[in-house]
Structure formats: C-alpha cells, structure tokens
C-alpha cells in the first residue's frame, strides 16, 4: 500500500510542482483562495486518476503483488493527501505573498467541497472513464438549471445560506459532526469504488 502511494506521488511530482506554481500565481492575483483551492484539489485528484487510467496500466498494477482493495484505497489516500497539500500550499502562499493567515475554517470548507466532489467523481471514473466526466458535468449542470427553473427557484439562495451557516458555526461539536460526515461520505465513496473495481475485467 505504501508503495502504491509512493508511486502516485513520484509519478505526479512534476505535475504537482507545476500546479503549485500555478496556485501561487492565482494567489498573487488575489483570486478567492477557497475556489482556487477547490479547483486545484480536483485537478490534482483527476490527474492522479488519469495516470492509471489506461487498461494496460491496470494490467500492470493487478499483476504486481497488490490486491484490488490496496489499489483503490491507495488512490483515495493519495487524493486526500494531495488535497491537504493544496490547502497547505494556500496557507503558506497567502502568508508569503499577502502576509495574512488563511482562516482554518475557510481551508476546512475548501477541503470539504473538494472531498465531496471527489467522492462523486472517483467511483464515476472507476465505473466509466474520466473523459466522460465532461459529459456528466454538462448533464448535471442541465439538471441544476432545470431544478432552479422549475422546482426550487431559490436554490442559489439556499446554498448561499447553507454556506453562511457553515462558516459561522461556532460550536466545536458542530464542526466535528461536519468533518465526520464528509469523511463518512469519502469512505462510502471508497467502498463503492472498491465494489466497482473488484469485478472489473482487464
């Protein structure tokens, strides 16, 4: 398992360095670090998926002495590690460039959004291919517009209010519950991915 995690980090090292430089540029331009963090976290996560996506690479990994459970769980650990790395880079970057401490609450919220998105995307990529994600996103956006137009017209306001509520939460217990629910979602996503990958033919 450790070797698989190491492999992912080694294979992505150049990409990670490039993305971190890009991240600093965005921070320098003072774009919302929350959204920059979400976008970069998803980008590195998708890169981690696409490097192993060719069926020939699956043949290699599954012929080496690893179990399918290890292959899937290592990917989930790597993606989480990369998301934490992006938030650390934002924290350090903001401190170095603007001399300000990024609120931990903001970073936590960034990680939560990224992890939620990745929890949906990873099983999708194990079932289909990441190239279908664009199509799926367009369909999802279409559905979102439909919902906003015909069913819940104040959906945007509700989302905004929910975000506001999360960011103004004061009690530690509420935060723990929030983080726990995100982690449960992530673990469930891992279980779904493992179920998909378990019987996949290469």
């Amino acid at each position: 398992m450790y070797n698989l995690i190491r492999k992912d980090l080694v294979l992505q090292s150049k990409m990670i360095i490039g993305l971190m430089i890009g991240l600093c540029v965005y921070l320098f331009l003072d774009v919302s670090s929350l959204w920059v963090g979400v976008v970069f976290s998803i980008a590195v996560a998708m890169n981690a998926v696409t490097i192993d996506e060719k069926s020939s690479v699956h043949i290699l990994l599954n012929s080496l002495p690893y179990t399918r459970k290890e292959i899937v769980s290592s990917k989930y650990i790597v993606v989480l590690l990369l998301t934490v790395m992006v938030s650390a880079a934002i924290y350090v970057g903001n401190l170095a460039i603007h001399g300000e401490f990024t609120s931990l609450k903001n970073l936590l919220f960034m990680i939560a959004i990224a992890v939620t998105a990745i929890s949906v995307m990873l099983p999708f990529c194990y079932k289909f291919k990441s190239s279908y994600l664009v199509t799926a996103s367009i369909v999802a956006f279409g559905l979102y517009l439909l919902v906003v137009s015909f069913f819940i017209q104040d959906l945007n306001d509700r989302i905004r209010a929910f975000v506001e509520f999360l960011l103004t939460m004061q009690s530690t217990g509420a935060y723990v519950a929030f983080v726990a629910s995100i982690m449960i979602l992530y673990v469930c996503s891992g279980l779904v991915s493992f179920r998909i990958y378990k019987n996949k033919a290469f």
Binding site: N3, V10, L11, V57, L60, S63, P65, Y66, F202
Partner: protein, 295 residues
C-alpha cells in the same frame, strides 16, 4: 505425493458477449515449459488473465502454487513473473524510473539480476519506454519478470511481432533459465515453431475448449498426417480423421490415432508426423464433432 502442478484450473467457465469458456480444466506441471497454443480469439488470453487474476471465472476454481487468489493473492503474485504482448508499463517513464517503482512491490527483487539482463539485452536505462521498439518493450518486460526470482513465468504471446533473431534470443534465454533452476514457464503463442525447441508440454485450446495437454513425444506418437488417393476414403475411413482436406489429386487428413491409421492404410497411404500448425489447422477445420477431447 506432493502436488506437482503449479497451475490448476478446475471446471472454469467464463462468458463474454459472443465468447465463452466452459468447464475448462488445466494443469501446468512444475519445472517444465508448457506452450499454450490455439488460433486467435479461442480463449488463450482469457485463460492467462484468469491465471493472473485479472479476470475472475464465473464458476470453477483457479489455483496457483496450490493457493487460491481469494486468500493468497499477494503471496501468489510475488512468485510470478509476467510478460504481456502489449507494453503494460507507464510509457512516460524510463526503464530506470520504472524499476524503482516495480522493485518495491517484490520482496525478492534482485538489482544485480536486473542490471545483468539490462546489459544482456542492451536496454537503455534512461530512454522513455514509449520510444522502445516492440522487441525492446518485450525485453524490458522480460527483464522485470526475471529480476525477482519468480518461480513461474507467465507470458502471453511474447514472440508475436518480433523478428526471428530476437525470437531465437528469447528462446535461448528461457532455455538457460530452465537449466539454472526449477522455474516453470507457461506461455501462449501462435508461432508454433517456437515450441519445438523449448516446450516440454503443449496445451491446445480451441473455441474455449481444452483439446489436450500432451508432451511433444506423445503428440508425435498419437497424431499423424495421412496422405493418399481419394479411392482410399469412404465414410468409415473418413470418420477416423479429425478433419480431411481433399483435392483433385488426393486427400490429406489428421488423425489422433496414428497406430490405427497405420493398420487401416498400411503401405497404401503416406503417414507423416504432423506439425503443431497441422494439428491446429485440422482441429479448426474439423470443428467440434470430430475433436477428441483428451486431457
């Protein structure tokens, strides 16, 4: 007596769209080279993928070294070296970078062995794998497969698309490997001439069915090509053959009962040793009704 089969498939079935393997059983003996032959699309790669646990059978069991994948997957794979007909490596890496990734997976990885093969095959360590020719890619695969003291080498069409010189080199290396130790080699090919010099056993598969596993000597004893005039053929004699090819000048047929053919035709027909290609060709031609299933 200790079980001397390294691979055992028992009553394995697997179906895909338009293709199926049914009630397939197979033994691969320890310490020997078994050549796995059959035409294109008859189930060779599917069988190899089931042996490697890349595919799970719908029913039946697969055991390697007497162990099942359910409980001993890592232990089994530690002891297998694999070569596939396509490059399965990260193509943007160099061989040196790839080695650093792969070696960590194996407990018995041997760097000195790796560099020995790299030198022997003249492989560049610092060129990206995507720039490798087909021959170099197979050599790289073989280098990785042989560098962790594997007890079983599984190869899927390792010689396809290779020039005759490299094919010969590859066979020599496998020869040497066998002399040096107790390694078992199981490899599929449709270039049957590769097998004459190296295989101890031949496993023949056709349309998802295991036709036979025999040693080369046994094949020579049992199978024969019979050539003669058309007047020798009638319904009874023709039934003795797996398949018959008739021309205006006579017939040529394959039998799996050489002795009987010799009794029936005596001096009237020419009886020759078949090549493996003959056996494959006539088995396909004769299709199911005439095939003698025999394991």
């Amino acid at each position: 007596m200790e079980n001397q089969n390294v691979i055992e498939l028992r009553h394995v079935s697997k179906s895909f769209d338009g293709f199926f393997i049914e009630d397939f059983s197979l033994d691969v003996k320890k310490g020997f080279v078994t050549g796995f032959i059959g035409g294109n699309g008859v189930g060779k790669s599917t069988t190899i993928k089931m042996i490697m646990n890349l595919l799970q059978p719908d029913s039946g069991s697969v055991s390697v070294f007497g162990l099942d994948y359910e409980n001993h997957e890592k232990e089994i794979k530690q002891r297998i070296g694999f070569v596939f007909d396509e490059s399965v490596f990260y193509e943007n890496l160099t061989l040196a970078e790839l080695k650093e990734i792969v070696k960590r997976a194996y407990v018995k990885w041997d760097d000195s062995l790796f560099y020995d093969y790299v030198n022997k095959f003249n492989l560049p360590l610092n060129k990206k794998i995507k720039t490798f020719s087909k021959g170099m890619a197979i050599k790289a695969s073989l280098t990785i497969a042989l560098s962790h003291h594997a007890e079983l080498i599984v190869m899927d069409e390792p010689t396809s698309g290779l020039d005759p010189i490299f094919r010969r080199e590859l066979l020599e290396i496998l020869h040497q490997l066998l002399q040096d130790g107790d390694t078992t080699i199981f490899f599929s090919t449709h270039i049957t001439t590769d097998l004459d010099s190296i295989a101890d056993y031949i496993t023949f598969i056709h349309d998802g069915e295991h036709i036979f596993t025999k040693d080369l000597y046994q094949i020579e004893e049992e199978y024969a090509i019979v050539k003669g005039g058309l007047e020798l053929l009638d319904q009874d004699t023709e039934q003795e053959f797996i398949a018959t090819r008739k021309t205006a000048y006579g017939f040529e047929a394959l039998t799996s009962n050489k002795r009987k053919a010799e009794e029936v035709f005596g001096e009237m027909a020419l009886i020759e040793a078949p090549t493996l290609e003959d056996i494959m060709y006539y088995t396909k031609k004769g299709a199911v009704p005439h095939v003698q299933l025999n394991t």
